[in-house]
Subunit: 656 residues, 2 copies
């Protein structure tokens, strides 16, 4: 059993280094790492096909460490294997033992949790908010399947972590899409942060749950090298067998393996230092002798698979009018109006034809969001991923696809996108762009009522528009098209944009305001009417409501300027100039809760010191069902009449 | 089988009325309703103990309709039984057939989805964002158990809906806490919105998954009255058997039951009208004859259980100092500093002793959030609910507890609270207050890195601070205490407040700024230093950093005012006055992404037209790990030196 003794040796070495690294940092989760030493040894030294000097190699097998707090044990292996990181100059360099000892320091790439955006291309996703890794792995597998790559994706999850429902969404998703390249590994070490894991997450129950979900489960001793290697080999064999069920591994492990002082409850997030650390290292040496650890067999990382992904192809995208013709939908133009959610579908379909790396994901509402147009196009259908009613898994899977070079457009009702806000934030932290599309946004949704209306979405998304990612992009660009032409153009921009964007589409039809010759850019705005008394800044549906108000304002002698604020961030200087040209009087209009576009305007203008007066109209109380957008806008004090009233009151005219 | 024939008759009648109601609205989901007619008939007419004239009776059995879009069939039963709603004057009145026909109209309480805040006390929670109902039911059951009430809670979920991971979090939670009063009913009608449900959500797989999770599963024909009644009776018997496993029902049903034209795919969200409606009604009449429907047995709603909940008791709450003494923690005072997360624990413990209805929930991190102090107090431990690592279930369970009269404090890392933003929004829509506590907030978290830092939390929560619920409260009050005394006082305010609040606590210790005599209120702020050159508005940790900057500013000849902005919303007039007293120069400081406190200030001041200059300092790029709050603040350009620099640049002084 020389492979066994060698892997035991490697495991002890990694455990020691893990404690040394976390001891140096004074924090971290070494006891979790210790429960993983044999799994990490078997994976990184004997089984995973990867190139230490090229950790982002597109053909390499991948490891998603869903229980991100366990990362010091992976850093230990990286230091031992010389797996490369990216330094501040973006150069690839091997992680050394010395570098690993800088864990959690401000100027170190050895961050507290895995993060590709912080210098670690070995990882595809930032993890640390639990329960998301298996979905990321599934997304990586979808991309590999589309690219025809024989790539395996290993995902290590904690048992306590597997209480997160998202893991079971991913378990279903993997089965639905037959993603047998994913190898889910549950690290059943029986202890969480504050206490033992629930019997619902015991190894026994995890096995039963996975079997119920249709998996072949390999229930192994996670500190028995040959059992691990055999399980990984079984996965390798079964993954190409069309008749086989997906394989999952439940590895029974010991938290704090190898050192009794670190076992049991109460050792979750603590890193022994000083004498306590010395004692742990001695315990590990005793364990080393006891289990007959001996580096008597060479360990060899297997060769990379031969397949390489083909480069994405890009063709010129058709204009909206031409796309409609190509799709046999010219009649849309005659109507003179179209819901932006439907324009999204047409735009997505055109983008799919133009860019081979565009993929579309939807959560069982593609006939509502518009994504059906993509799904039902035979040439694109293979790139449509039905995620069923599980938004969290959908978003993390999109992150995995983005990490694998795809451009994922992810659609559902804007309201249901809220379900996945943590997953969206983790994707932003990872620096793996996703294009978000929330439909049926705002109060104009109407009949279905507030449980279906996206109302806080702009506030959330705009929060990220106030920060920059590692690539210098805004964390999010928020796009709120008011008409179909604009929506179409913005979707094409999103497809080519290298950052995150959130497109907010509407349920009701809106009249065409623009034509095929109009251009729109991320960060832009559209000056629709130029006046001098009052600057009205409106987004989405409210552009139309503002248009209706203009006539009445004109009658009342108010010469208003109207701008379609379709993007956040926007050109702050240009808006400030327009505000100054309108005596500093600004009225903002949006059909969501506040802390959104109006606040973005207030932020920008109040920083200039030029003395503007900004009134914000938005949804200020809980909406309800109603039969038309107009009814709802009246109920929310956002109708054209309310706009006129507010404008006149701002300008101190009587509203008679 | 006269009960069978009678329930068949009732089911046909409800199906017809459901189609009529949705036909009148021109929208809704009658085919889903039709799949539920037998379950609803058996429940509401023969099994559930409820009083139609008192739908919010605290002793009554409850129905949580998790698949909220099916609500028209419940409205049909309500109209038939005269179950009461609350009108605009808050008076209870029976739902009539005529009223039911106003479904989805603006002035009608018959809203598109169930919502207690929109006039329907029969429901405990707004549903319609899927997958949350079973958690709500579990929360209701926890409350009933605490109150010693023999109350059963029925929860109806869709099969497609059961893809949502949260349902499986609730399944585990129910088992962990032995909440056998909950009767989960899966409506397995095999069709979703766009297509058939996945085999992973088939009735067969649902049965297996529930069995794997430790349930006794009753797999029944959901259109066979006697089978339904028997299953419900089995649940009734087993719920008091301490040896029994929890019971769940998987009901195999037919979407569009009774009318062939509404069956199969493509009839999800469509309501037949006109001739199509007539045809459906004829089909239902044919079904009626075919199954021998006959109202030949009286149906009787069972009597309410005799138990009534005891009224909550309230005692005066101790001061922070006295609480520390009572808990044997006086030594805290000597140190002169304490992390607000720890102050939260002490405050929660004191609130628990003062108010018998205060309950605490935490997601396996109570030793980090401070909630341990409550959990480890023997007098309070029974009111501590360990939710394990499943934030979504935790928040919806808290909603259920709130609906049952409890005052739930829910804690986890602020970052992980993001996981449950949709559940929080649904609680706000429901009008059932929850006290949210997000710990380790902001960039000062330090070593663990950005995957553990709450950075967008203030933006999200503030979005709701810009709207009002049906009770006139802000959707959310955001509280960002800077010291332990303030935190303690605000927690006591939260315990007595009837709305939603989000308390944001810090990982590192902060020095005491206040004392036991200082008072703090929701909506308040604290003027710490009065100057005349520059108004510095800071929140949380940044109050301390601003304090450090003041000395240097003073040396530079800048006489700054410092305000601790611990609450959003705040007194806008008072802040505007202070800004005016400081030449209109305002600098805001916070350790999260933007669109937060600074934007709230910009919103308020820019509306006055007084011409302020507002510079906002906040986290503007992705943070990383670092070893101390100071390091992180420097990295994020938020150190006292950066504050001084920004202040001097605002006032156009050279920073030499």
């Amino acid at each position: 059993m020389s492979l066994d003794s060698t892997l035991h040796q490697k495991s002890v070495d990694l455990a020691k280094l893990t404690y040394q690294i976390t001891g140096s940092a004074g924090s971290g989760h070494p006891s979790t790492g210790a429960s993983l030493v044999h799994l990490i040894s078997a994976l990184l030294y004997t089984h995973m096909r990867h190139e230490p000097a090229n950790p982002g190699h597109p053909s390499a097998d991948r490891l998603v460490l869903s229980e991100g707090h366990a990362v010091p044990v992976v850093y230990a292996a990286m230091a031992d294997l010389g797996i490369h990181y990216r330094d501040a100059n973006n150069d690839l360099k091997p992680v050394t033992r010395d570098l690993a000892m800088t864990l959690r320091q401000l100027d170190s790439p050895i961050d507290g949790h895995p993060n590709p955006a912080l210098g670690m291309p070995f990882f595809d996703a930032a993890t640390g908010s639990l329960g998301q890794g298996l979905s990321v792995a599934a997304g990586l597998a979808v991309a590999a399947k589309l690219d025809g790559l024989d790539k395996r994706i290993f995902c290590i999850m904690g048992d306590g972590e597997s209480r997160e429902g998202q893991i079971w969404e991913a378990v279903d998703f993997i089965r639905d899409h037959d993603l047998k390249a994913v190898c889910p590994i549950f690290n059943a070490n029986a202890f969480g942060q504050t206490s033992e894991v629930s019997p619902q997450q015991s190894a026994d129950t995890l096995v039963k749950k996975l079997e119920a979900a249709g998996y072949e489960v390999l229930d192994i001793d996670g500190h028995q090298p040959s059992a691990i290697v055999e399980a990984l080999s079984t996965h390798a064999q079964k993954q190409h067998d069309p008749e086989a069920a997906p394989v999952a591994i439940v590895a029974r492990t010991v938290k704090g393996w190898g050192s009794a002082s670190q076992q049991g409850n109460g050792h979750h997030g603590t890193a022994p230092t000083g004498e306590a650390l010395d004692a742990v290292l001695e315990e590990l040496s005793a364990t080393e002798r006891q289990i007959g650890a001996a580096a008597d067999t060479p360990l060899k990382i297997p060769m990379l698979p031969a397949d390489k992904p083909e480069a994405a192809t890009h063709h010129a995208v058709k204009s909206f009018d031409d796309a409609l013709k190509a799709f046999g939908m010219e009649s849309v133009l005659e109507k003179g109006k179209l819901a932006t959610r439907k324009a999204y579908g047409i735009a997505l379909r055109a983008a799919g034809h133009a860019h081979s790396n565009v993929v579309a994901l939807d959560a069982e509402v593609s006939n509502s969001t518009g994504a059906d147009a993509f799904k039902k196009d035979d040439a694109l259908a293979s790139r449509f991923v039905e995620c069923k009613i599980a938004e969290q898994n959908m978003l993390s899977a999109a992150l995995g696809m983005s990490a694998a070079g795809k451009v994922p457009f992810v659609s559902t009702f804007g309201k249901f996108m809220v379900r996945a806000y943590d997953q969206i934030e983790m994707a932003i932290l990872s620096g793996k762009p996703i294009k978000l599309v929330g439909s049926h946004a705002g109060a104009t949704l109407g009949a279905d009522g507030p449980s279906q209306m996206a109302l806080c979405d702009v506030a959330f998304a705009r929060s990220f528009a106030t920060m920059r990612t590692q690539t210098g992009h805004p964390g999010m660009v928020v796009l709120t098209p008011s008409d179909a032409y604009q929506c179409y153009a913005l979707v094409q921009q999103m497809a080519e944009y290298e950052g995150f964007a959130y497109l907010r589409t509407l349920r009701p039809d809106t009249e065409f305001l623009y034509g095929p010759e109009d251009e729109f850019v991320l960060g832009g705005h559209e000056l629709l009417i130029e006046g001098r008394d009052l600057l009205i800044l409106a987004s989405g549906y409210m552009v139309h409501e503002a248009n209706r108000a203009l006539e009445q304002l004109d009658e009342a002698g108010i010469d208003a300027t109207l701008v379609d604020m379709y993007s956040l961030p926007f050109d702050e200087e240009a808006i400030a100039d327009l505000a100054n040209e309108n005596n500093g009087m600004v009225l903002t209009l949006e059909d969501n809760y506040g802390n959104a576009m109006g606040s973005a305007v207030a932020d920008a203008l109040s920083a200039t010191g030029d003395g503007f007066t900004i009134n914000q109209m938005h949804v200020k109380h809980l909406p309800k069902s109603g039969q038309s957008p107009d009814e709802l806008l009246r109920y929310c004090n956002l109708s054209s009449e309310h706009i006129v009233q507010q404008a006149m009151s701002m300008l101190e005219l009587s509203a008679t």
